[in-house]
């Protein structure tokens, strides 16, 4: 502490600054704290909660949400949204089963459905870059992708009995479930791309202020198409994981999954308006949603109430993400003339 610099004003402002920092911290990391508190409460009230079987089970349920959530984080970084991911899961589920039944090798099937996901995502992105709002384009895709799934499958679920799929859905490596490993790899790669590469930076710049990104010469059209293509590919990967876990290909797979994914991403602190995105937050958001559901289930709460609670959480998350966050950020810089030095 340098006494020379401590003016009366800055001493008086110090506790106020600390309070401000605490408020900003709470809004920013509120979900991490909420997750910790919820897990603490559940482990105190239910003997089944804090068992490795239960925890792994919840984490495995969260895996598809995390996998798609990584892509959705990039989409939201560009200030976009993709409502079609749940339906893409259904379409991929149907295609996977159909192509396996047709006798195609399982690895080829996986590559093909991921390619389908990438191409449909790129199609979404291409239409969006023509100027149609992302909400409208992907809402249309939401109904049509699942519709195609129903047409192809004639509404029936087809069993999947391939051993590679059994490994993907229910297998493990050194005791860790395969879906968890796949999700972890996606998270690590996603974090790296978002935070350490030009592409991630450009996605954030595009969502933060598109006109600025444009005059700085960023290829906005390509960036936007790419984030939807990535999300499509990841939704297809999640579709493979879900079909493998359920051992069937069904046009009903992934119902309402888009809402859970969006809730997870928003809960995690990624801005709905673009420019700010966090992969770690998305993971926490996905875990929080699934642990809340799991805790309520363990306490025997009516599953329909669980749906209501999920909806309430989504609204709270958006509230936190928009109004509260903006207030906290504004509060944090309420005093721009703080005599701060260039940090070395």
């Amino acid at each position: 502490m340098t006494h020379a610099k401590t003016t009366p004003t800055s001493r008086a402002a110090a506790p106020f600054l600390d309070m401000r920092k605490a408020a900003v911290f709470l809004v920013r990391y509120g979900m991490f704290i909420a997750l910790a508190l919820w897990m603490l409460a559940m482990s105190l009230t239910s003997e089944h909660f804090l068992t490795s079987t239960n925890l792994l089970n919840v984490a495995r349920q969260a895996a598809p949400i995390v996998i798609i959530g990584v892509g959705m984080t990039f989409v939201m970084a560009t200030a976009g949204i993709d409502l079609s991911v749940g339906s893409l899961v259904a379409l991929v589920s149907v295609l996977t089963a159909a192509w396996l039944v047709a006798g195609l090798p399982p690895l080829l099937v996986i590559a093909m459905v991921i390619l389908v996901g990438v191409m449909l995502g790129a199609l979404n992105g291409a239409i969006i870059t023509l100027g149609v709002p992302a909400f409208v384009v992907t809402l249309a895709a939401l109904t049509s992708f699942r519709g195609v799934g129903f047409v192809i499958s004639e509404g029936r679920a087809v069993p999947i009995s391939d051993p590679i799929f059994a490994f993907i859905g229910r297998g493990d490596v050194l005791g860790i479930n395969t879906p968890l490993i796949i999700a972890a790899v996606v998270v690590v790669v996603g974090w790296f791309v978002l935070n350490r590469t030009r592409f991630g930076l450009y996605a954030l710049a595009t969502g933060g202020r598109e006109e600025a990104a444009r005059v700085m010469g960023l290829a906005i059209t390509k960036i936007k198409i790419a984030v939807y293509a990535i999300t499509g590919g990841l939704a297809a990967l999640a579709g493979v994981v879900i079909s493998a876990r359920l051992s069937n290909g069904s046009p009903n797979a992934g119902m309402m999954l888009e809402l859970e994914v969006i809730a997870a991403v928003v809960l995690g602190g990624t801005s709905l308006f673009g420019g700010r995105a966090t992969i770690a937050g998305t993971v926490v958001g996905a875990l929080l949603i699934n642990f809340v559901r799991n805790g309520l289930n363990l306490h025997g709460v009516n599953p329909y109430w669980v749906q209501v609670v999920t909806g309430v959480i989504l609204v709270l998350a958006v509230l936190m993400n928009t109004v509260l966050n903006r207030r906290a950020e504004a509060w944090a810089r309420a005093n721009p003339e703080d005599d701060r030095e260039v940090r070395k």
Binding site: R196, T197, R198, L201, L204, A205, G208, R209, E211, A212, A213, R214, V215, M216, G217, L218, S271, G275, R276, E329, A332, R333, P336, E337, D338, R340, E341, V342, R343, K344
Partner: protein, 259 residues
């Protein structure tokens, strides 16, 4: 006589039914400071965005050192040494000071064949830029939205001057600034000029151009209506051209452009 550093010839641009520029030409010598003035909607920003590669002209050509160039892209203009400070600064609020300064031309390093952003080098370089300019920001790792308006302008200036520019375009650099900040902007312009960098200033404040400029160009409704040396004109002369769109001197010595 050698070719001027920059020449724009016969630039035209329309937006739908609006003719923003019609047949505008401009010459600029290295190290000279040009004030581009005119009413709102005269086409000043559009002309400069074309020069900076942010817009494509419908017709006309741009020559650098006598050689035609084609700025299909802002990056192409920046690679040729033409930088622009936009009226709204064109900063991304959520990105840090350094990320904004290097946006579109990041320094990367290779890790196991992957191109990774070299954040520490870029942070160090942007701190050097601020030090060289005598400008201050609280920290180059802060998001730009946490800065005051004057500090945000400092970021835009650092970005435009930190990469060996030959021409810096400033769109309303002194609008909404207090007297001390205006003095700093004038200092920056003089420093650039002394370093041989040409500067084009779009400004409503004629006194800024009288203070640091060499030449005025007056635009009205998409046309270039007059051209004056700073020491050969006064406020009344310029204001008359801005308002009427007619150059009284040229009326005596008419040029071949009856529109």
């Amino acid at each position: 006589m050698s070719a001027p550093m920059l020449e724009m010839r016969g630039i035209s641009k329309t937006f739908g039914a609006v003719t923003a520029l019609s047949n505008v030409s401009l010459r600029l010598e290295a190290g000279s400071v040009l004030g581009l003035i005119g009413d709102n909607a005269a086409g000043k920003s559009t002309l400069m965005k074309i020069l900076a590669g942010a817009l494509r002209p419908d017709s006309g050509e741009i020559l650098l050192d006598g050689a035609p160039v084609n700025f299909a892209h802002p990056i192409a203009a920046r690679d040729a040494g033409i930088e622009m400070i936009y009226q709204d600064f064109a900063l991304v609020p959520e990105l840090t000071v350094t990320q904004n300064i290097f946006l579109g031309r990041e320094i990367t390093r290779s890790i196991a064949g992957l191109r990774v952003l070299d954040r520490s080098t870029m942070n160090a370089r942007s701190e050097e830029m601020f030090a060289a300019l005598g400008l201050r920001v609280p920290a180059v790792t802060l998001p730009v939205q946490a800065l005051s308006g004057g500090q945000q302008q400092a970021v835009a200036i650092a970005r435009a001057t930190g990469f060996a520019a030959r021409l810096v375009i400033m769109d309303e650099p002194t609008a909404n600034l207090g007297a001390p900040a205006i003095a700093r902007v004038r200092e920056t312009i003089t420093r650039l000029k002394n370093a041989g960098v040409a500067v084009i200033i779009i400004s409503h404040r004629l006194e800024d151009i009288f203070a640091v400029g060499d030449r005025f160009m007056v635009m009205k409704q998409g046309h270039l209506v007059g051209d004056r040396n700073v020491d050969d004109t006064d406020n009344a002369d310029l204001v008359e051209m801005i308002v009427t769109g007619v150059d009284a001197r040229a009326a005596r010595d008419p040029v071949a452009d009856p529109t």
